[in-house]
Amino acid sequence: MRIIEAAKVTEVVRRLCIDANCHLPGDVKARIEGCRACETFPVAQGVLDQIIENYGIADANDVPICQDTGLACVFVEIGQDVHVEGNLAEAIDEGVRQGYADGYLRKSVVRDPIDRVNTGDNTPAMIYYDIVPGDKLKITVAPKGAGSENMSRIKMLKPSDGLQGVKDFVLQCVEEAGPNPCPPIVVGVGVGGTFDKAAYLAKKALVRPLDAPNPDPFWAALEDELLEKINALGIGPQGMGGRTTALAVRIEKMPAHIASLPVAVNINCHVTRHETEVI
């Protein structure tokens, strides 16, 4: 049994919130710059140039890449041999509270979806726990903006809809979203599980590095095929036309009921942020 102090979790979450919001991951930058090199449409080239200039400014000045510094989505993998001394959820929220205050990040959480009073400190975090073997604690903070989150969809397909049904639904989501989620986007897809598990998988897919395709060749090929089809739509960066509608498609799948084929699409903008630390 390894003991980790709750205060250590707070310190790590605080740092991850600030870093994730100010510094775009290298794999995302590499993909954006690769797409810029392939882009032939002048308007799209101009938009991508500004996106590249923008994250350069954020890097150089430690300022947020985007003003929507998001809900703090926190993925926690807890080794089953770890004991957290103190309250883990409170420790994470305290890290978010400190990170969003000290990092000059926007407080974008309302306490109730109907009365809509801002909590003032960007808490509570949206926490996803996973118990895994080992004695480590892996924390990923992925701030999620609402512009792209609002364009996300889920559908309970019939098994007879099959692979074609999955492809059609993903393309339909991207088409309907159009310019709204700040393309070029990253498309997270969850296939299988239950209604809620599919949505979780779609969100989790968005923190997989863009240079890491699905380890299963079938699903990796589907990621490539969907990316090609999305980039043939012509929506382009910011919806003003061009090839670069999406930077990547990331699919996660799991077993499903004999009667179900759930498909969830969680869209992220070009500011696909996530930072990880293992304690």
């Binding site: 954020a58 003003q67 000059y104 159009g178 310019p179 709204n180 012509g234 382009g236 061009g242």
Partner: protein
């Protein structure tokens, strides 16, 4: 070549702008998002005075991050505009001429733009660090309780935007995509 525009934007100026034109805006704009729009429209419904001069006004749909010491404003890129669709026609009908945001608008908004002479500009979403450099001054005007969603008066200099929808209803999201797809035929 971007067209330089000195605000306020009169109806005549708005009617001259064409979808697809790049513009650099200088002068005063106001920030407002969903919550502030709701309050403004409630005041209009009650016949009360607004906290901003809506005549020839340009409203930027943005909720900035807090300014760091030495900054006029934090990161300040556009939010998705369709959430303001319920409110924009009312404000356009009483004098608003410019909107800055990103993403699609409803037919009701476009109809109001055509009827009264208003324009919908797009700024690049997710570029808040870059855009904030064009904002020279930010001052709280109303609804401090809304935090990032409060109304602020901004003084901007060469703020880069593109006309997405003009006062005739031409839409860059439709024409730009079509033009690109034709270019690769």
């Amino acid at each position: 070549m971007a067209k330089k525009i000195q605000l306020p934007l009169t109806h005549e100026m708005a009617r001259e702008l064409r979808s697809g034109e790049s513009c650099l805006l200088s002068g005063v704009i106001y920030t407002a998002r969903d919550a502030a729009h709701k309050r403004l429209c409630e005041l209009v419904a009650q016949g009360k005075e607004l906290p901003i001069d809506i005549q020839d006004a340009t409203i930027y749909f943005v909720g900035p991050t807090p300014a760091k010491p030495g900054q006029a404003i934090g990161s300040a890129g556009p939010t998705t505009s369709y959430r303001m669709d319920a409110y924009s026609p009312t404000l356009i009908s009483i004098g608003q001429t410019g909107m800055i945001g990103k993403g699609k608008r409803s037919d009701e908004v476009v109809d109001a733009m055509k009827q009264y002479g208003a324009v919908y500009f797009g700024a690049i979403g997710g570029c808040g660090a870059l855009l904030s450099k064009c904002i020279k001054k930010a001052e709280l005007v109303a609804y401090e309780d809304l935090g990032a969603e409060a109304i602020r008066r901004l003084e901007v200099e060469d703020f880069p935007v593109v006309v997405i929808i003009d006062s005739e209803g031409n839409n860059l999201y439709e024409t730009g995509r079509k033009e690109y797809l034709e270019s690769i035929q």
